[in-house]
Symmetry: C2
Subunit: 140 residues, 2 copies
DNA sequence: ATGAATTAGTTTAGATATTAAGAATAAACA
DNA sequence: TGTTTATTCTTAATATCTAAACTAATTCAT
C-alpha cells in the first residue's frame, strides 16, 4: 500500500490547511466560520439559491447546511423565502448586513490572496488550479 | 474579490472529496471513519508515536485526537502506554487486530488507487503531488 | 532549590460532518 | 381519482472540528 505521506487525500488536506491559514484569522476576527463564509460567498456570487444548489456549490451536505443557514439567519446575514411554485423549496439570499460584511472584508481577503499568489507563484497556481479542476470533475 | 469557484481552498476541498470518494465505501464497509483510518495508517508507518506527533502527521487537532484515540482503543485497534522519561507523554501503537485489518483492506485500497492513477494519469498525479507539497510547506 | 514559564494531553462548548430516517410536498401513473 | 414514487428539507445520533480554558508534568531562571 502507498506510503502514508504519499496519500493524495492527505496531501490535499494539508494543502488546504495551508491555504486556509491565510484567511482563518480574518474570518475569526469577524466571528464567521469557514463554512459560513463559503455559504455567504456562494450567495453573493449567485444572488439567490435553493438550499440544495447551495449545498452543491459549497460542498456541504444538506443536514449540515440546515444548521448553518439557521445560524446565519439568526445573525441577520441571510434571508429565506418559500418558493411560490414548489412549496418544498427554500430560496436564500443575502441581507444588507452581509453585503456590508463583504465591503469590510474584501480588501483584506484580496491582500492575502495577492501575497499568497506572489509567494507561491502565479504560474504554479494556475497549473494547480487546472489539475485540481480535472481531479474534481473525475467521475469515479 | 476572486470569483467563488476560483477559491483555492474550495478547489482543494472538492478535489479531496473526489479522491476520497474512491475509498469511503471501503472504509464504511469496515466501520472505520476517515480520521480513524488516517490515524491507523500513520501508526502503521511509524510503529510508535506520541499523541502530538500523531496529530501533526494526520492533520488532526489534539482535542479531536483525544476522542479518536479513545474510540480506537475501545475497538481494540490501538494500545497506549505512558512514556517512562516523561509522564506527560503517551505512546501509541497498533494491535494485532489492526494489522489484520490492514491485511484485509490493503488489496482493495491498492486496486482503487491503481484505477484512479490510470484514470487521472500518472504524470499529472506526480505534478499535482509536487505542487501540493510545495503549497503545504509554504510558510505564510 | 523554588516559583514562573513551557509543554502534553484533556475537557468544554458550540459548530459542522456523516449516515439514516422522517415529514411535507410534488410528480408519476395505474 | 387514489396511490405510489420522487424530491426537498429537516431531525436524530454519533463522530469530528475549532478555539479556549484547564490539569498535570517538566523545564528554567534566579
Amino acid at each position: 500500500m502507498r506510503k502514508f505521506e504519499d496519500s493524495l487525500p492527505l496531501q490535499l488536506l494539508k494543502a488546504r490547511e495551508a491555504s486556509m491559514a491565510l484567511f482563518r484569522p480574518l474570518l475569526q476576527d469577524n466571528n464567521v466560520t469557514e463554512q459560513q463564509w463559503r455559504v455567504l460567498r456562494a450567495l453573493k456570487a449567485f444572488d439567490e439559491l435553493e438550499s440544495k444548489q447551495l449545498a452543491e456549490h459549497c460542498c456541504i451536505l444538506s443536514p449540515s447546511l440546515t444548521g448553518i443557514i439557521k445560524r446565519l439567519e439568526q445573525q441577520g446575514y441571510i434571508k429565506r423565502k418559500k418558493s411560490d411554485e414548489d412549496q418544498r423549496r427554500t430560496l436564500l439570499s443575502l441581507t444588507d448586513k452581509a453585503l456590508d460584511l463583504f465591503e469590510r472584508l474584501s480588501p483584506d481577503v484580496e491582500t492575502q490572496y495577492q501575497a499568497f499568489t506572489k509567494l507561491y507563484g502565479e504560474e504554479k497556481l494556475e497549473q494547480l488550479t487546472k489539475l485540481l479542476k480535472e481531479l474534481a470533475e473525475l467521475k469515479v
